[in-house]
Amino acid sequence: MSACKRVQQWATFARTWHIFDCKWQDPYQSAGVIKKYLMGMHKPIYHPLNDCGDVVVCINSREIALRGEDWRRRAYFHHTGYPGGASWTLAWELHNKDPTMIIRKAVYRAMQGNLQRRHTMERLFIYPGEDIPEDVLQNVTNQIRQLRLVPTRLDHIPEEEVKNYPKVMDYPEDYILK
C-alpha cells in the first residue's frame, strides 16, 4: 500500500505506554481499569483478534491498600503440581515476599480466562517503588487516573495554608484539652 496508508495504519495501531500510581489504591478495583487498557478495550479499534492492547506500568505497588481485614485474612493459593504441594499464603506474607504479586494476581483475575490472557499479562510492568528504569519511563506518554482519593497528610500541607484555612469554630485560648 502507499506510504500514506502505511503510516496511517502504523499510527492507528501504535501502542501507548500508560503509567498508573498504585499508591493507596485497592488492587482489585484498579485491576478492572488496568485490564481495559491492557486488552485495548479503551480503543474504538478494539477486536479480540486485533492485538491492540497497550502497555501499563504500575508504580508504588508496595503502597497498595487492601480493604478491611484482607491483609490479615486474604490467602493466596498455590500448588506446585506435586503431591503435598498445596500452600496457602496470607496477603501480608505474600506482599513481604514480593510486593508486585498482589496487583499482578488481581489483574490476572480481572481478565477473561482465555488464551490471550498470558500474552496480555506480558504487557504489564509492575515496580514496587518510584524507581523505574530510564528507558521505560521515557516510553510512557499517558497517565491513568487513580480510583480512590489519596488523602494528603497534615504535615505535608504548607503551614501558610493550614493557618489561613477558614475555621467553623476554634477553642478559646485558655482552653485545656484533656
Binding site: 499510527a11 501507548t16 474504538p44 479499534i45 499517558n142 487516573r145 487513580q146 482519593l149
Partner: protein, 183 residues
C-alpha cells in the same frame, strides 16, 4: 477451521470496472436456452419461449439470446456474464412463472454469486469521513510536556465534592458578599 482450506472463496461486494460511477452496463452478456420440443419437463421453458421471450429480448437489447432445441435432453439455461462467469441452471419441471422469476434473477445478477461468500454486505472505498482514529486524536496536548507520573494527571478528578470543600466555598461566597455590602 480457518478460511484457507475451504473451496468456497470469500470476498467483498465489488462492481466490476466501477459500473455505476460512469454509465451503468447490464452485466448479463448472453443467455442460452436449451429445451426439448416435446419432452414434458421443458413445458415451462417452452411456454416462456412462446409467450415472454420476444418481450424479454426487446426489453434487453444488450443480452444475446440463443435457443437450442435438442431432443431427449432436459431443459437448461446457461447465463454468461461480462466478468466471465458461467451459470448453468437446470429448469427441469419448473413452471412458466418460476422460470420467469429465475430469468429475472439471472438478468440482474453480476456473475456467479454462489461461487463467492460475501464477508460483508456493504462496501465502501472511504470507511472514515473525519479520518481514522489514532491514539493521538483525543489526547490532551499538555501530556506532551508533562513529567509523568504527575499528580495533576494521575489524581482522581471525578470524586464528589466533600463537605469541607462545600463549607469553604460557602465561606468564600460570604466573604465576597461582605465585601460587596461594605462597598
Amino acid at each position: 477451521m480457518s478460511n484457507k482450506n475451504l473451496f468456497l472463496k470469500s470476498g467483498f461486494i465489488r462492481a466490476p470496472i466501477q459500473n455505476g460511477v460512469g454509465r451503468f452496463v447490464p452485466q448479463l452478456q448472453r443467455i442460452v436456452l436449451k429445451f426439448c420440443k416435446t419432452y414434458g419437463a421443458s413445458q415451462g421453458l417452452r411456454e416462456f419461449i412462446e409467450q415472454d421471450l420476444v418481450d424479454f429480448a426487446k426489453e434487453n437489447p444488450s443480452v444475446v439470446v440463443y435457443l437450442k432445441p435438442r431432443r431427449h435432453r432436459g431443459p437448461v439455461i446457461v447465463a454468461e456474464y461480462l466478468n466471465g462467469d458461467r451459470v448453468w441452471m437446470s429448469v427441469h419441471n419448473k413452471t412458466h412463472s418460476e422460470i420467469t422469476k429465475w430469468i429475472e434473477v439471472l438478468r440482474t445478477q453480476q456473475g456467479d454469486i454462489s461461487s463467492l461468500r460475501l464477508r460483508k454486505y456493504q462496501y465502501t472505498d472511504y470507511p472514515s469521513v473525519q479520518g481514522p482514529w489514532t491514539p493521538f486524536t483525543f489526547k490532551d496536548p499538555e501530556l506532551n510536556t508533562a513529567q509523568l507520573p504527575d499528580p495533576h494527571f494521575g489524581a482522581n478528578d471525578r470524586l464528589p465534592i466533600t463537605a469541607t470543600e462545600k463549607l469553604r466555598l460557602l465561606f468564600e461566597k460570604q466573604k465576597l458578599s461582605d465585601v460587596k455590602t461594605a462597598e
